[in-house]
Point group: C2
Chain length 229, copies 2
DNA sequence: CGAAATTTTGATCATGATCAACATTAGTGG
DNA sequence: CCACTAATGTTGATCATGATCAAAATTTCG
């Protein structure tokens, strides 16, 4: 059975290529030694910054995963994005963050002072361009997510999510999700029961295979892609 | 921090709000005569650019309204944003637009060649900062919309929409919507019948008053605001 | 004025939410 | 290592919100 072969996978959790890859040469502005960067590690569930706090740093995930979310007054939560290894975040314009960022699992980030970036951007067009590309990428992701939340069915949302995670975590058809069903639901604008049901149906149809709850293998990526619009 | 310097940039951060106000002196990069701008007028429903086309220009609405949307393969449409007088759009990084932009009503836009802006941004930090502030504003708007689409009820979505339009079109409690119920529905992730029903209920409760279908008066803004989360 | 487009309203339906119970997994201390 | 507990996830039953189908009313425009 498949779950067996997955269970026989290396005991050490393997997070696909992003976590295993050395991020050093991918690091944010690594070509600019005048920018002082610091590493920080946050435990599972720990807050990196909160909505309304002053934005002092730009962050890049070195390993782990971060959720960025906003709450409605009655406690409903909407996760706007997951930040995985290599992703930059915290690039707000304006004085304060407009979302809360938390480590989903133990996460190490690279931090750069906003003020030093600002200075570098003024004298170095390459820095400005890289910042531009980063925020444009975030905007693109947000627009994709708007289409998903506004117009896709529950099954389509989950299919899109699985393909996105495959692409971002491994692109090898097999990956380990860092986040819970509740996090996924709050990202996809669904309830966790709905996410669980859709995943179960995909498993029953042989489109995906699960080992444990977090380790997922895509057995029929073409079918997932055609479910998605 | 960077955002501070943006706020202090020698550019008025608030463009004209109303359709009637003369936007000439607020125009995009008016302090930079080396940037050649052109005016263009598009009739009701006319396409300004399409998804997948090469991004050659940045646009600013002088008067009128623009909808920016993407389609799913089965024809479902999701409007990501409405651009009203003063708003800039088309700031994609990368070669192609990732949404289609159409004039909702007769609309005049100011156009700047993307390439000339790029050149200007490399030599002039103020231009780069203004571009940064514009795209960061778009990102903020997209994140607000993600919360609406992911977690708000139909009634909350309509309430949020009416308050947003009031703020952006008039802020005087009375405004004329440039867009149809269908456009509103495709923006809010609802069907047009649902939008119509919610508006009718708000009218019955005396929260809003309608003159014709497009002219709306907010009679109880506090109630709308508390409906919204 | 008349035709087409848009909007409203009503009736019914389907999707996903909610409530509830149970199963599984992960974490903790003996 | 196992037992115990808490956290997470699955599954079932029922409900509610908003979608869909349909028709009438209103507005817009030639």
């Amino acid at each position: 059975m498949l779950s067996q072969s997955l269970a026989q996978a290396p005991v050490r959790p393997h997070w696909g290529r992003t976590l295993s890859r050395e991020p050093a040469e991918n690091a944010l502005f690594s070509g600019h030694p005048e920018l002082i960067t610091t590493k920080m590690t946050y435990g599972r569930g720990k807050r990196i910054f909160g909505e309304g706090e002053t934005a002092e740093y730009v962050y890049q995930v070195l390993c782990g995963a971060v959720r960025s979310y906003r709450l409605l007054s009655d406690g409903r939560r909407q996760i706007g994005a997951f930040r995985l290894a290599g992703d930059a975040f915290g690039l707000e314009s304006g004085l304060t963050h407009h979302a809360t960022a938390e480590a989903v699992i133990e996460t190490t980030v690279c931090i750069i002072k906003y003020r030093s970036l600002e200075l570098a951007a003024k004298s170095d067009a390459a820095v400005a361009c890289e910042l531009w590309a980063m925020i444009a990428g975030e905007l693109r992701g947000a627009e994709d997510h708007i289409v998903l939340l506004g117009r896709k069915s529950a099954a389509q949302r989950v299919a899109t999510f699985l393909l996105e995670m495959d692409r971002r975590l491994a692109d090898a058809g097999q990956f380990t999700l860092p986040m819970s069903r509740c996090d996924i639901a709050d990202y996809l604008g669904l309830r966790l029961e709905t996410v669980s049901r859709v995943v179960s149906q995909l498993q029953a149809k042989g489109v995906v295979a699960l080992a444990g709850r977090r380790q997922i293998q895509l057995r029929d990526r073409a079918r997932l892609a055609e479910m998605d619009a």
